[in-house]
Amino acid sequence: MTDFRTDRRSLLKGGATLLAAAATMSSEELLGYAKAWAQTAQWKPEAGAKVNLLRWKRFVEAEDVAFMKIVDAFQKANNVTINVSNESYDDIQPKASVAANTGQGLDMVWGLYSLPFLFPEKCTDMTDVATYLGDKCGGWSQSGKDYGMLNGKWIGVPVAATGGLVNYRMSAAEKAGHKEFPKDLAGFADLIKGMKKNNTPAGMALGHASGDANGWLHWALWAHGGNLIDKDNKVVVNSPETAKALEYVKGLYDNFIPGTASWNDSSNNKAFIAGQLYLTVNGISIYVAAKKENQQMAEDINHAHLPAGVDGKTRELHLGFPILVYNFTKFPQTCKAFTAFMMEPAQFDPWVEAAQGYLSPFLLGYEKNKIWTADPKNTPYRNVAETATTPAGIGKMGENAAAAIADFVVVDMFANYCTGREDVKTAMATAEKSAKRIFRH
């Protein structure tokens, strides 16, 4: 592989026109491209490799179709098999964990959040792939590095994130007195109060919803200066800042549509599309579905980042999607080649377009994709990587932080107080206890 660099350059030179035509590539052209790519790639798939890949079940159909096209082209060009299976958000992690523990069943998983950090010792070092992609596609954002690297080594490749941003009906917000989307915490609370009064309520999940509940509640905690752990991973959740965050969220919750304590990841999508919910925090999937099923509603939908915190900074916990390769796979080269192949511009650009805003890149070059500006309502989702923070917050991402978010420590703290089960002090003490249990080693 010593002459790889010259090969890549020549490919890049000739590839410029190919890239331009990427969006409209037919499957034969894609196959041709895939064959040319395989010739020069740094990773040579093992002959007759059979790879089992598990991914999260799509929320945007066209995204999945585009993904399967990439898989298909890769299979044919390299004469390997990639079995793709899908699981819902909530079920992907247990399956990945069992595979990690038993050392069989799966070769690679495209999962959520900090999945590779739950079992870093079972992950193949992906530094070569990540470096290659970073060099080629405009470099990694800081959040991309945070999501992929442990102790200077890439244990997973953060493919993309889905932004947890505010989805709202413009008419309802305007009626509540906010023509412009509020930029600060007080304005946001006022908007939600006003919407409740007009009987066009807002609602965000407070149940065990891996994506939705974790997302906006971590924002609320961070926006008030609260943190689960400090930069040395010491538990500091029991603090006056956290208390303020609890009071703030309780104020929102009291003005929500009833029932959000039982919501899972799909509940707000259903209620929004049914016209019962007018503001929530979600990926772009609601807008995508509305464009297809209810054009009138789609025209009324807009997106915005959550308001900045008390220090003026916006820190959001978006839903990162890292892909990992187990170290017990018999086909590491195939897995690495596939990861690099699918994130090449020729594949990734059309895929991002098909996802219609659901996949926000960690590789900065992809922020230039025209999907982000073609529809101004997509634009807020472009910069997701810039506000993204890992579940560790200001702490260091690792096994314990991954366990804390999987165990819903922060979500339960807010839900405990909002539903009136516990008072502020007890809710914080319970969360502190749970976090100390997790961070004790």
Binding site: P94, S97, L118, A261, S262, W263, E399, D407, T419, K433
Partner: protein, 320 residues
């Protein structure tokens, strides 16, 4: 049974002393019996004793997903002892088991008595009763999930249309509603098992007893109290032992409906063990919670076992 010899023939017994050890072992029927039991024993050890032992051992380690643990003694249990969520799950499990089992028994017995009567389409009705038991748990849980949905519940919708309530019922979003809802779903699912098994018990009661009682002028209640009930007790003991064990270890229904929420109000020990062990990767802690279920299960088994001994239920007689 005459072909089975319980002792060796006299002349063989006389020479036993003189035979070497190997020869004695080779001809011993007791050793032979051990060999015959071996496959069954291996099966039990491999699939029951070994996983159980492994689970208990794991609960004394800090094993995580993908990494072997080291022995930490009682540390996991010490943390659980101070863990409010763990104790809440113990409370939830006991409440769930007691309420659901009691109601399942009452409804099941009533259904069994009804089904035992002669009526048209008897076979078909008995088959229909089994449906909740046949449907895969996860499927029925999803159906219930829609029935209990915060926004789209058919129950809330109907009641609103009837003008009885003005707002959706928050079935899975408030603590007590959520507990009641999962218990109801469990009862719906568990009643057929109790009903059909008790029905089988009822069929074994000889009709001549009822005839004699009727001639003696016994009322319906007396016939139930002094004939049906005593003769049914052995079956009741077995059914209720199973019912309690199944309910206590229930996982699927709660996991599919609430995942232990809202705010852990429906977390059972089984779901909490899965949450901690598999979802957040702390196998040792998950194993400790699962191991903590064993004393409760042993107690449930012991109660019914000693009950059967004392009252000689297995013979169906009522005297001590």
């Amino acid at each position: 049974m005459t072909t089975v010899q319980t002792s060796m023939p006299p002349q063989a017994a006389a020479t036993v002393e003189a035979q070497p050890l190997w020869e004695r072992l080779r001809t011993s029927r007791n050793v032979l019996a051990l060999w015959f039991m071996l496959p069954a024993a291996a099966f039990l050890i491999l699939f029951l004793a070994y996983p159980l032992g492994l689970g208990i051992w794991m609960s004394f380690t800090d094993e995580r997903i993908g990494r072997a643990g080291i022995f930490v003694g009682l540390e996991n249990y010490e943390w659980l002892w101070d863990d409010a969520i763990f104790w809440l799950s113990v409370f939830n499990t006991l409440l769930y088991t007691l309420v659901a089992s009691a109601i399942k028994f009452a409804i099941g017995l009533y259904l069994a008595l009804l089904l035992n009567r002669h009526m048209p389409f008897k076979a078909m009705i008995r088959a229909v009763v089994l449906i909740p038991f046949i449907v895969p748990t996860v499927l029925s849980a999803i159906a219930f999930w829609w029935i209990y949905d915060a926004q789209f519940s058919i129950i809330s919708w109907s009641l609103i249309k009837l003008g009885l309530i003005h707002q959706n019922i928050d079935f899975l979003g408030s603590e007590n509603w959520a507990r009641g809802s999962v218990i109801f779903a469990n009862i719906w699912r568990g009643v057929p098992f109790v009903a059909i098994t008790l029905l089988a018990g009822l069929q074994t009661v000889s009709p001549s007893l009822y005839e004699a009682a009727t001639l003696d002028g016994a009322t319906d209640w007396q016939r139930f109290r002094y004939i049906t009930y005593p003769l049914l007790t052995p079956i009741i003991a077995v059914v209720m032992t199973f019912s309690v064990l199944f309910t206590f270890t229930d996982f699927q229904l709660v996991w599919a409906l609430t995942r232990g929420g809202p705010v852990n109000a429906t977390h059972l020990m089984a779901t909490l063990s899965y949450q901690r062990g598999i979802i957040s990767g702390r196998l040792g802690e998950g194993a400790a919670i699962a191991t903590a279920m064993i004393p409760f299960l042993l107690a449930a088994i012991a109660i019914s076992w000693f009950g059967m001994q004392r009252r000689k239920w297995q013979q169906g007689s009522d005297n001590d």
